[in-house]
């Protein structure tokens, strides 16, 4: 067990280092001089004073070697100091924290809704393989997978905000502004959750312990409820983590459409404003978080699955 956790953790740390190197090094590969960029954004003047540029370069530590710069940057980053945004002059970390809370709410709402539909639907489809509901479910899955958020979102805004006027079309005030973005964001995870639930449940429904439970006098439905669902949900957990990590950052399009101040919007604004520290910070936060969540889910999966727990204990 602990061996597994240690192994996953060491791989996690290695990956995080690679991500940090990328976040640090990639901006250096572009032609821009950070000092000039910063000064330009401060003065909005293209004729920069060479002395000012030079002193800022020293101030930023840009005259040191690359390795020294990297470890300096990493040291600050580890202490939670990701620098200041060029655009807002705010600490990058606090901006990220604020945006993350928003994205977290959005992602969990979307995934919760997706699961709410997917678990029963996938289970019902698995109970009668090849039946009408199963066919309809397959069709729905394949269709949802192909539905772009940036198509569904405007259509839903059109219907619910502009025509029916029941939901706000954009912004981030109160639960009602959460509904449409969460719905748009939930479509593809919903499709994949349904697919994985269906597959897992059709395995479980044929499992010998379901027959054994029925032989003990449980009805088919009771057997599935008491002994099938937990076993069937194990693969879904892995998938949930995958999408949770993905949605935290991958919801850029939806956040931009609905003007939601989340991580995606933060990243997008950083690009638009050419805000390198914010770009670096948001990138590290999103990719790092994705990797951390994934590792956590991996370990969690082993923890809740008694059989796995036993195997790794030996």
């Amino acid at each position: 067990m602990w061996k597994l956790v240690l192994q996953r953790l060491s791989i996690l740390v290695a990956m995080l280092l690679i991500v940090s190197v990328a976040a640090f090094a990639v901006p250096l590969m572009s032609d821009g001089d950070p000092a000039r960029t910063i000064l330009m954004s401060r003065t909005s003047d293209f004729n920069l004073d060479p002395d000012a540029v030079e002193s800022l370069r020293t101030e930023l530590g840009l005259d040191r070697t690359l390795a020294a710069q990297y470890f300096g940057w990493l040291g600050h980053a580890l202490r939670g100091d990701l620098g200041f945004s060029f655009a807002t002059r705010q600490p990058v970390l606090s901006e990220i924290a604020r945006a993350l809370a928003v994205s977290l709410t959005l992602a969990l709402t979307a995934l919760g809704w997706a699961l709410l539909v997917a678990l029963p639907l996938g289970t019902l489809a698995a109970m009668r393989p090849g039946g009408k509901l199963d066919g309809a479910t397959t069709l729905l899955i394949q269709t949802l997978v192909a539905t772009p958020e940036y198509w569904f979102a405007p259509v839903s805004v059109l219907v619910f905000s502009l025509w029916l006027g029941v939901l706000p079309s954009a912004g981030w005030q109160g639960p009602s502004s959460l509904i449409l973005p969460a719905l748009a964001l939930s479509l593809r995870p919903m499709a994949y959750f349904t697919q994985i639930t269906r597959a897992a449940m059709s395995d479980v429904l044929q499992a010998p312990y379901i027959s054994a439970a029925r032989a003990r006098g449980l009805s088919y439905n009771q057997s599935v409820l008491r002994h099938g669902l937990r076993n069937g949900s194990l693969p879904v957990i892995t998938f949930f983590a995958l999408w949770f990590a993905g949605l935290l950052g991958g919801s850029v399009v939806v956040e931009v459409i609905f003007a939601i101040p989340g991580m995606g919007r933060l990243l997008y604004d950083a690009v638009i404003n050419n805000d390198v520290p914010m770009l670096q910070g948001a990138f590290v936060a999103m990719v790092g978080l994705a990797i951390v969540i994934n590792t956590a889910a991996d370990v969690f999966y082993v923890l809740i699955n008694p059989a796995m727990r036993g195997r790794h204990a030996q």
Partner: protein
């Protein structure tokens, strides 16, 4: 069997009739997908002849008009014909997605087969990397790179490739290990056959069908991703007509001219749906034969 695809006897039916036989034997979603994609390809190929208007011709007096007999899908904010712009275009979204699929397919399959053959620590390391990378959203990487290097096809391609190879690697690795475990492979190795021979003769043919199937599914996914980046203004730059870009240009006019936004979205949706259905149709039958083989 995959080997038939390589060594067809001389009297085998022609490529076209074989394609027809193959299509007929598939799940209905495969046929529906092929129909959608074929229709779209035909329309785009014939666009210069069938497009009703010059896609660049502006008509500021007739801007943001709904569907009329002249403009079937209405006009955009510059009075350009929406239908013509959908049909004619550099098809940036489609092209870049297709190229990304091919590159990731090759890289992923090579890594997967190598990891599966090598086993041990290399395999473990490769698969853990896949596990972690697969959860990193490609949109985030794409936006980061675009933010640094600016929009462009190369940036986009690199971004899509960085994580895009992982599903192929996982699949190819699984198939490789499955084939590896079979008696005849071990027998071949005991008999002193070269590893490369075993790889090309037995492992790769086994990978072709399942990997083709997920390529179509991934293609649909890439279309949506690239379209999304274009929509954010991070893909192709105006004035080139592109599906994603048309969406972005249409957004301010959602209320006045909803069709302006619905039409290009629907086209991306249809294209993604077509390839997804093809991939799904192939996957169903592939897993079916997989059961027969074991």
């Amino acid at each position: 069997m995959p080997s038939d695809m390589i060594l067809s006897p001389p009297d085998a039916p022609g490529l076209l009739s074989r394609a027809v036989i193959y299509t007929r034997s598939r799940h209905w979603t495969f046929r529906a997908g092929v129909a959608i994609v074929a229709a779209m390809i035909a329309l785009i190929a014939l666009a210069p002849w069938i497009a009703p208007h010059d896609p660049g011709a502006q008509d500021l007096l007739g801007r943001l008009k709904g569907p009329t007999a002249v403009h079937w899908l209405g006009t955009d904010h510059l009075g350009r014909d929406v239908l013509s712009r959908l049909l004619i275009g550099r098809q940036f979204t489609v092209t870049i997605s297709a190229v990304a699929v091919v590159i990731t397919l090759v890289i992923g399959t090579v890594i997967g087969v190598m990891a599966g053959r090598a086993g041990g620590l290399a395999d473990e390391l490769a698969m853990r990397t896949v596990d972690l990378l697969i959860s990193v959203p490609d949109v985030v990487i794409a936006i980061f790179l675009i933010g640094v290097f600016g929009p462009g096809w190369l940036t986009l391609l690199v971004a899509l490739t960085l994580t895009g190879w992982t599903p192929y690697a996982r699949l190819a690795r699984g198939l490789t290990r499955e084939v590896n475990a079979r008696e005849y492979i071990r027998a071949a190795e005991v008999l002193g056959m070269k590893r490369s021979f075993v790889m090309f003769r037995h492992i790769l043919p086994n990978c072709i069908r399942p990997i083709t199937a997920i390529s179509f599914l991934r293609f649909g996914h890439k279309l949506i991703t690239v379209g999304g980046l274009s929509y954010l203004g991070l893909g192709v730059q105006p004035p080139n007509p592109d599906w994603g870009l048309m969406l972005a240009e249409a957004q301010p006019y959602l209320e006045r001219a909803p069709l302006l936004m619905i039409a290009p979205g629907a086209v991306i949706f249809l294209a993604a749906l077509g390839v997804t259905w093809i991939g799904h149709g192939m996957e169903i039958d592939t897993s079916g034969t997989g059961e027969d083989r074991t």
